[in-house]
C-alpha cells in the first residue's frame, strides 16, 4: 500500500520556527540570525552593532556555541542581556532551542535580538529559527573563494558582511572575484565592508539594520 505524506522533513522545526516568528511579530522584535565560520568575527560584529544601535534600540543577544559561555560573558560585560545556548555538539541552532532561550528574555521591552549561530558555514543554513533575516559574515583571512565552496550560506543571507577588511593587504584577498561570486549567488544582497574591531564600515551596516528594525516597530 502506498501512503502519500508530502511532509517537510523538518516539519517539527519549521512549525516551531513559525510560532517563534509569530511571537516576534506580536512583540515587534526584529530577530537577526548571524551565520559565519568560527573566528570570523561574529561576536566582534555583535559588539560593534550594539555600540552603534544601543541608543536607539533595546537589544539582547542569544549566543549559540557547542560549549562554553565565553561569548555571552563578553556581551553581558557591555550591560546587554545575553542568553547562552550550548548545543552540546550539535552543529547548528534549532527553533526549539530559541524558544527556550526566549523564556528568559523580556520580549515586551526589546526591539532587536542578535542571534549568534554556531560557527559553521553549512549546517545552520537549512534551519529556520523564526528570524526576520539571516546575514552571513565572511572574514578576509578565510579567502575570496568561499562563495564557491559554500554557496548555500551566501544564498540564504539577506546581506553579507565582509569583516576584517583591515587585513586585506596581508591576505591577498581578491575583492572583485568575491563580489562577483556573491552577485551571481545572491544578486540582491548588499555587501558591507567592515572591520568590527576598528569600527570601519560599522555605521553603514548598522544603518541598514536599523531600517529593518524600524520597519517592524
Amino acid at each position: 500500500m502506498q501512503i502519500n505524506l508530502e511532509q517537510p522533513i523538518l516539519a517539527k522545526n519549521d512549525a516551531l520556527a513559525q510560532e517563534n516568528r509569530a511571537l516576534f511579530a506580536e512583540k515587534h522584535v526584529f530577530v537577526l540570525n548571524i551565520l559565519a565560520s568560527p573566528g570570523s568575527g561574529k561576536t566582534s560584529t555583535i559588539l560593534a552593532t550594539i555600540e552603534a544601535l544601543r541608543d536607539e534600540f533595546n537589544i539582547a543577544v542569544i549566543e549559540g556555541d557547542i560549549a562554553s559561555s565565553v561569548d555571552s560573558e563578553k556581551i553581558k560585560a557591555q550591560g546587554i542581556a545575553a542568553v547562552q545556548i550550548n548545543t552540546g555538539g550539535a552543529c547548528h541552532l534549532e527553533s526549539n532551542m530559541i524558544r527556550k532561550a526566549l523564556d528568559v528574555l523580556d520580549l515586551d521591552a526589546l526591539d532587536l535580538i542578535l542571534l549568534e549561530n554556531v560557527g559553521n558555514l553549512v549546517c545552520p543554513t537549512d534551519f529556520d529559527l523564526g528570524e526576520n533575516a539571516k546575514v552571513m559574515i565572511l572574514s578576509v583571512p578565510e579567502g575570496d573563494d568561499k562563495p564557491l565552496k559554500y554557496p548555500g550560506v551566501f544564498q540564504v543571507a539577506e546581506a553579507v558582511v565582509l569583516n576584517k577588511v583591515d587585513t586585506m593587504p596581508v591576505f591577498n584577498f581578491n575583492e572583485e572575484a568575491f563580489t562577483e561570486a556573491v552577485r551571481q549567488l545572491n544578486p540582491q544582497a548588499p555587501i558591507f565592508r567592515m572591520a568590527a574591531t576598528t569600527g570601519e564600515g560599522v555605521d553603514e551596516w548598522a544603518e541598514w539594520l536599523a531600517e529593518k528594525i524600524r520597519a517592524v516597530q
Binding site: I3, L10, K12, Q184
Partner: protein, 116 residues
C-alpha cells in the same frame, strides 16, 4: 553535517505514518531533496542504513529525487533552470528573481506491507 538528524526525523515520521496505517513493514521511502539545500544524497543514504537497522524500515528502498534549482524572473516572467551558483535571469539578466524549486526537503510517500 546534519544528515543523521534529518534522517532521524524522516524515520520517526515514516514509522508513525506506517503504524497509523496498521503496516508491519516499510518497503519504500521516497524523498525530494533540492540541490540548493545542504543535504547530500550519499550521506542521507548512509544515515538511513545506520538508523533503519532493526526497525520496521530495515531493508526498505530509499528513493531520493534530487530537485534541480528553478527560478522565475520578476521582471520578464521567464522560468528557467540553473545551477547552484547562478541565480540571475537566464533570459534578461535581471537580479530580481524568485526561487521556485531547489529548496525542497520533503518526504513524498512511502510504500508499506500490511499484515496478511
Amino acid at each position: 553535517m546534519h544528515e543523521l538528524g534529518l534522517m532521524t526525523g524522516v524515520m520517526s515520521s515514516v514509522t508513525e505514518a506506517a503504524r497509523n496505517a496498521g503496516a508491519v513493514r516499510v518497503t519504500d521511502i521516497t524523498l525530494s531533496v533540492g540541490e540548493m539545500t545542504e543535504a547530500i544524497q550519499d550521506a542521507l543514504e548512509f544515515a538511513f542504513e545506520a538508523l533503519s537497522e532493526g526497525t520496521m524500515c530495515e531493508g526498505a528502498k530509499l528513493h531520493i529525487n534530487m530537485v534541480r534549482p528553478k527560478s522565475r524572473c520578476q521582471e520578464c516572467g521567464a522560468e528557467y533552470e540553473h545551477d547552484r551558483f547562478h541565480m540571475t535571469c537566464a533570459e534578461c539578466g535581471s537580479p530580481f528573481t524568485e526561487l521556485i524549486a531547489g529548496k525542497e526537503m520533503q518526504i513524498d510517500s512511502i510504500e508499506v506491507d500490511l499484515p496478511d
